[in-house]
Symmetry: C3
Subunit: 154 residues, 3 copies
Amino acid sequence: MNIEARLTELGIVLPEAAAPVASYLPVVVENDVAYVSGQLPFVDGKLATGRLGEDVSLEDGQAAARACGLMILAQLKTALIPLDRVKRVVKLGAFVNCTADFTDQPKVANGASDLMFDVFGNHGRHSRAAVGVPSLPLGAAVEVDAIIALHTDK
Amino acid sequence: MNIEARLTELGIVLPEAAAPVASYLPVVVENDVAYVSGQLPFVDGKLATGRLGEDVSLEDGQAAARACGLMILAQLKTALIPLDRVKRVVKLGAFVNCTADFTDQPKVANGASDLMFDVFGNHGRHSRAAVGVPSLPLGAAVEVDAIIALHTDK
Amino acid sequence: MNIEARLTELGIVLPEAAAPVASYLPVVVENDVAYVSGQLPFVDGKLATGRLGEDVSLEDGQAAARACGLMILAQLKTALIPLDRVKRVVKLGAFVNCTADFTDQPKVANGASDLMFDVFGNHGRHSRAAVGVPSLPLGAAVEVDAIIALHTDK
């Protein structure tokens, strides 16, 4: 199935790809593997900030992680990589801005993981590391980076 | 030397592979490279929790890191990857749950690194990043993920 | 252009490669990709310690990140990988030792990112994740690891 059609079916409109907040690239492709920089959660153009266990609920944290995932997809497209070229989501790294007593990083990260499964089916099932961090760029609630295997461009 | 025989020689019994605590896969293999999700330290089926510099000693932290390493091996086997297929442990990422004044992350991470060397010899020698984090899934003391190159499956 | 000549042009003298502070390797090359372990910021042989948002200024943090980048290059050379073999800096992971209210991790990490661009030009432009952490090995202010694609050794 065509992934753009699948996005439409899911009612997903990708956000505008955020410009890197510093001197790096959002996506580097090497040997048919896309390395996507850590993406921040922009929802309706506004950054989801705050800290799990403090001022961000689990549900809002999951929505933020999902927004990071959507931004990963948006960055691929902006880098002129059609989503149909995605062969396999290989790995997600989820960094959760949280207090020292918050231990539900996996549930938060599921916001991004479930998105990948919804969009790509079994090809979206990935390995993952989810950890807590005391602070993130611009005060973001979550940051997610990705390694994504691509079909060879013809 | 056969790796299973080496495990026996070392007196190592691998733990039962832990089910992912969320919607991802423990191992994804792409192009003969295994990406192993961040593993938590289960010792005798019980999660090693706590924080270095607070309520976990250096020795217990090292044992927890080693337990993460054992879980990485267990996950490979559960993913039907015989340990003899391991060509090279390429990279370990060690996240140490610790206080802000704890700076012995490398010594903690050695629990996992030494295990890889013990089991795989020079093929187990890897690159590594070890950092402190304020909290980990389920309150785990350590989390370790891995990138492992495999011999091509015949 | 020859990279060693470029370093000279930039007035860069690489530091002596730091020995791993534990039982791992500074660099592992697998399938023409170099995985460089997390490097700490040694400036004139002295480790740059401290915490952004507390006792390390943004400028000093950037200098520390740049020092991590220089150490990445030094480690490649010590591993007998000529810098001219660098095909592409694929990914940097920047871990910034900081307080919970510090949110300029990207600006800090730019110290390493800008270095890669200065030295390798467009081949030095990379993907990146930058996050805050509460503590780093030996009290370092910044730690940076890298994935670097190499030209096939002839």
